[in-house]
Amino acid sequence: MPKPMFLSPARHGFRFNWAGRIGLAIVLLWGVIALVGPLITPYPVGEIVDWDYFGPMSQKFLLGTDYLGRDMLSRILMGARYTVGISLAAVTIACSVGVVLGMIAAVLGGIFDMGLSRLLDAINGIPGLLFGLVVVAAVGSSLTVLILTLAAIYMPGAYRFARSLAVNVNTMDFVTVARARGERTPYLIAREIFPNILGPVLADLGVRFVFIVLVLSGLSFLGLGVQPPNADWGALVRENIGALSFGAPAVVFPSLAIASLTISMNLFIDNMPTRIRDRSA
């Protein structure tokens, strides 16, 4: 079937089921909230607005109040910025470093591949949370440290994953053709290999994002994280966990926020848009 020439095929012909759409929509919603959070919070995030604590949901405080009597809705809206932001930054760093190293290792092979793989395997062996604790003990906790630590925890995994994909792609004839043409490593990595591992890498990025959200909340649980008055969702759950026994909104909603983000991300990854081969429809 003839196609209008101005239409780029990449923009068309994707199949995307409802589960994936819902997932993406929620993830995007949180993304938007992360961006505009400060503009839509009903109360300042640190302000004690109620003498009562662990207050119930009410007209005034839609999601109740926390252990100090602060508005939960405002805190969750602001927390999105940290949870989403930190996780996104960390996962981006982890995946970009891991993927680039993985592709280089796959293309160069030999000693570089061997050495790097062993070293990162070794790092992988150290439990993430403990690694985080040691790092924070060593250099203190700041946003940068947090992001870099999380990135460091997840980089070896991303490396392993990207490397195994890239090794497969690297043996494909089109890479050989490019080599035979005289192309250098940067071109091979950027144009021949990367586009072909992009799909799985994005899916992997999503999975890692979920893990980072969870590890971040784990770190918050152990007392490391964002500076007050702000708090990421994990910290919100932690500081209000005393209210779990009454099922107070202060602990339920941040938990729901975490779950909604991670579940949606997983839904999206499991139902990524697939390109439709049948183009005649």
Partner: protein, 556 residues
């Protein structure tokens, strides 16, 4: 024995539908009807996508995922398999009807011993005790002329050769004494010499057992040897149906005629090279050695190429022929520097090239291009045809913008593809189109020499013939030389001036293509040449090959 007058299989107005990933319902089999009588061997022939395998599988009541029988009936021995439950169909499979897959290498479970898999049918259907089943399997192995029939079953699939596996798959299909055996292109993946053995074994066993057969293939010459009747398919419909001799001699349908024509291509006309001033050969190899694995004493652990010498004159074509494992593809890699030879020299236009392509000059790389067998893997699936073609233009010639776009259009035109194709991704093209793009990319470099590594092997015969024609055209237009690597003698004949016959990494003989059959002196060359199937139904039976020679050279 069933009543010979009653058909064993009746396919009536069969429709098979598939749902595409866009959710669109398409009909891939459009009302096919035919019968198979007991003891009869029917061939389903057609190009890929013609629906031949789908029809064959439907005889077992099976459709691949995404497909379903949407109409018609398939009656097997009086029972309609389309109306059965899956459990009832499972009862049929292996006992009433069984299947010999296209690639036995893929169809054997790599982690189980062969015997376990061969006798599994008897276990599933509780046909006989294990010991009895094994004894029967061994007798089948023997009947199929398998080496060491007593012990071959103890091996794992990777420990036997492709030809043996294919025969073992036949044993697996026959162990349940089925009334119908479906052969799904069982020899396509095999070398010609092996193919002969396998075909013979099949024919012998099937004829002895009196079972019916369905033989799915795209190769008329092979089918001619084994089938009583041929059904020609295209686009999910029967084009022509007749007995084998009549199809071969009195084909009515144009598509059948095209298939017949493709089996016997027009021989290559050597181009006149007179009048040109003497120049060094465009490509010359002197004492080339290459191999894989870790190096010890400057020699690799696995040596593949041993002392290969040849000259390819400008404007001429050199064929390299040999069976799998002969080192012909390694030769292409060694020449192109992808696998640097550890000894010997490659001369391009009289000057020596560095063994490693990384050390070669860009200009030399440009002058010699390589085209791979599988266009599927040779084209980056993430890039559009346009950008695939544009890269060498930029890389070698520094072309940009409109000039480059114009050149891309010109290249597509050169390989007879519409310019609009440049917006497509490779997976949206047909096999033939992909191979044309593959070729166009090599042409983009404006080379003087193209190494073609089995570029027609994965294509349907008709499509392959068109590619060969294109190569000829391009040669005369662009003053190219080809080094043409193939396992298919007729293809080489169709395009080459000279032929190197390779065996176990060595050139055993160099022959002029036009007089190959006549001048071949080396026994291996002779064997190879005599093994190419002919369109004569009696060819296989009358073929007189020295079994010792066959055993010595086919080593599988």
């Amino acid at each position: 024995m069933p009543d010979a007058s009653q058909p064993l299989v009746t396919v009536h107005d069969l429709h098979i539908g598939a749902v595409t990933d866009a959710g669109r319902q398409v009909e891939i089999i459009k009302g096919v009807s035919f019968d198979i009588r007991p003891g009869e061997f029917v061939a389903l022939i057609g190009e890929s996508g013609s629906g031949k395998t789908t029809i064959a599988l439907s005889l077992m009541g099976y459709c691949r995922p995404g497909c379903s029988i949407t109409g018609g009936t398939v009656t097997l021995d009086g029972r309609d398999v389309t109306a059965m439950t899956e459990a009832a169909r499972a009862e049929l499979r292996g006992t009433e009807v069984s299947y010999v897959p296209q690639s036995a290498a893929a169809a054997f479970n790599p982690s189980k011993r062969i015997m376990d898999q061969v006798v599994e049918i008897t276990g599933i259907h509780r046909l006989m005790p294990r010991a009895e089943a094994e004894a029967k399997a061994v007798s089948l192995f023997r009947a199929l002329a398998l080496p060491q029939p007593e012990t071959i079953g103890r091996r794992y699939p990777h420990q036997v050769s492709g030809g043996q596996l294919q025969r073992l798959a036949a044993a697996m299909a026959l162990i349940g004494d089925p009334k119908l055996v479906i052969f799904d292109e069982p020899t396509t993946a095999l070398d010609v010499t092996t193919q002969i053995e396998v075909l013979r074994a099949f024919k012998a066993v099937v004829q002895k057992g009196g079972v019916s057969g369905v033989y799915v293939s795209h190769d008329l010459a092979v089918v001619a040897q084994i089938a009583d009747r041929i059904i020609v398919l295209k686009g999910g419909e029967i084009q022509e149906e007749n007995t084998t001799p009549k199809i071969l001699t009195e084909a009515r349908h144009p598509y059948t005629k095209a298939l017949l024509a493709a089996v016997d291509p027009v021989p290559h006309q050597p181009r006149s090279i007179a009048g040109l001033q003497p120049r060094p050969p465009i490509l010359e190899a002197i004492g080339l050695h290459a191999g894989y694995g870790t190096f010890q004493n400057a020699e690799p652990a696995i040596k593949v190429l041993k002392n290969v010498n040849f000259r390819l004159e400008r404007g001429r074509n050199l064929g390299v022929i040999g069976e799998s494992g002969s080192g012909k593809s390694t030769l292409a890699r060694a020449v192109s520097g992808i696998l640097p030879p550890y000894r010997g020299a490659v001369l391009l236009d009289g000057h020596e090239l560095d063994g490693d392509l990384k050390e070669r000059r860009k200009e030399d790389l440009r002058r010699m291009q390589i085209v791979f067998q599988l266009a599927d893997t040779a084209l980056n699936p993430a890039q559009t045809v346009g950008s695939i073609l544009a890269r060498p233009l930029k890389f070698y010639h520094g072309l940009r913008g409109a000039a480059r776009d114009a050149r891309v259009d010109a290249l597509l035109d050169m390989v007879h593809l519409p310019a609009a194709l440049k917006y497509r991704l490779p997976r949206e093209l047909s096999g033939g189109q992909k191979q044309r793009v593959n070729l166009a990319r090599a042409l983009a470099a404006e080379p003087e020499l193209i190494l073609c590594d089995e570029i027609t092997s994965a294509l349907d015969t008709v499509v392959a013939a068109a590619i060969l024609k294109l190569l000829e055209e391009l040669q005369s237009e662009l003053n190219l030389s080809y080094m043409f690597i193939s396992h298919d003698l007729s293809t080489v004949e169709a395009i080459c001036d000279d032929v190197l016959v390779m065996y176990r990494g060595e050139v055993v003989e160099e022959l002029p293509a036009a007089r190959m059959s006549a001048e071949a002196a080396h026994p291996y060359s002779k064997l190879l040449i005599s093994s190419v199937p002919q369109l004569d139904p009696g060819w296989l039976d009358s073929l007189d090959q020295d079994p010792e020679l066959l055993a010595a050279f086919s080593r599988r």
